[in-house]
C-alpha cells in the first residue's frame, strides 16, 4: 500500500487507511491497558486487542489484519518497554500463529465462519504459538504441556467473548455512515 502525492488516493483507499490507523491505535491502547490488569498467571491474557484484528479482517482483508497485528505487537511492546524481551517474543509467537490461523480460516471458509469462530481459532493459535515458543526457548521440558489444556480452556472463553465483542463492533461499524456507501455499492453489484 504505497501512495504518492502524484496520484491522490481514492475515497475507499483513504477511508481504509484512516480506519486501519484508528483500529491499530485502539489495539495498542487495549494491549497496554491489559498489561495493567492483574493476571492470575503470566500466560493468561484477555487478548482484547484481537477484537480489532478481527474487525480489520472482516471489514477489510487478511492483509489489513496482518498489518494491524504486527504493528500492535511491535508498538505495544515498545510502549510497555518489553521490546525484544522474552515476553515480547512470546507475544509475537502467539500473535503470528493467531493471525496466521485466523486469516487462513477466513480465506478457507469465508461464509461459514463468523467472528466468533475465527476469534476462537485465533485464541487457540495464540495459546499454541506461545506454548511452543515457551517450550522451545525457555522451559525445555515436556511437563510444560501439562498446562496446555487449561490454557486452551481459558483461550476458548476469551476467544468466544472477544469474537462476540468483534461481532457487535462490526455491526455498529457496518451501520456507520462511512461504510454505508460501500454497502450500498456492494448491494448494487
Amino acid at each position: 500500500m504505497t501512495s504518492s502525492v502524484a496520484d491522490p488516493p481514492t475515497l475507499p483507499q483513504a477511508r481504509r487507511k484512516v480506519f486501519l490507523a484508528l483500529f491499530t491505535a485502539l489495539a495498542i491502547a487495549l494491549h497496554t491497558f491489559e498489561f495493567l490488569l492483574p493476571s492470575p498467571t503470566p500466560w493468561f491474557r484477555l487478548g482484547m486487542a484481537n477484537i480489532l484484528t478481527l474487525v480489520a479482517l472482516f471489514l477489510f482483508d487478511g492483509r489489513a489484519a496482518w498489518t494491524l497485528a504486527l504493528t500492535r505487537i511491535g508498538v505495544g511492546s515498545l510502549v510497555l518497554g518489553q521490546l525484544l524481551s522474552p515476553g515480547f517474543f512470546l507475544s509475537l509467537a502467539g500473535g503470528v500463529t493467531a493471525t496466521a490461523l485466523m486469516t487462513l480460516f477466513h480465506r478457507l471458509f469465508p461464509r461459514r465462519l463468523g467472528p466468533i469462530g475465527i476469534s476462537t481459532l485465533g485464541a487457540f493459535g495464540h495459546a499454541l504459538g506461545q506454548m511452543t515458543l515457551a517450550w522451545w526457548l525457555l522451559v525445555r521440558h515436556p511437563g510444560i504441556w501439562n498446562l496446555f489444556p487449561y490454557l486452551l480452556l481459558a483461550a476458548l472463553l476469551t476467544g468466544v467473548l472477544n469474537g462476540l465483542a468483534a461481532d457487535l463492533l462490526l455491526g455498529m461499524l457496518r451501520r456507520h455512515r462511512a461504510f454505508a456507501e460501500e454497502r450500498a455499492g456492494a448491494e448494487l453489484n
Binding site: R112, L113, G114, I116, T120, L152, L156
Partner: protein, 129 residues
Amino acid sequence: MKQFWARMLPGDRVVVLSLLLVAVGLILLQLGRAPGRTVVAEVDGKVVFTAPLASDRQVSLPGPLGTTELQIAQGQARIIASPCPNKVCIRMGAVSDRGELLACVPNRLLVRIEGGDDHEESSYDLLSR
C-alpha cells in the same frame, strides 16, 4: 444467551465445540495418569537400586563414566549431577508418574518409576533373557 447463540454461524459452533472437546479430552488424559510408588535404577540393564518414591534421599549410582547423583525429594525423582557430556538426564527434570523414565545413555543409567506393589509388571509366568 439466545441472541448469543444466534450470532454464531454453524461453522463457529463446530470450531468452539471441537476445541472444547480437545481441551476436556486432554485434561481427562492428564488426570488419568497414575502416580508411581517406587524408583528403580538400572545400570547396564541390572537393577542396582530400588527405593520408595515417598522417602527423601540422595544416592550415588556408579556407571562406566563415573557416579550419577539421583535425588528423591517430595515424591519426585531427578538426576542432579552426572559425569555425562550433554547433561540431558539433568535437563529431563523430575519424574513422578508410573512409567516415566530418566535416562543417562552415556553412563548406561536408566531410572524408572514403577507402580509398586500391585504386580502389574510381573504378570508373566516366566521371562527368559
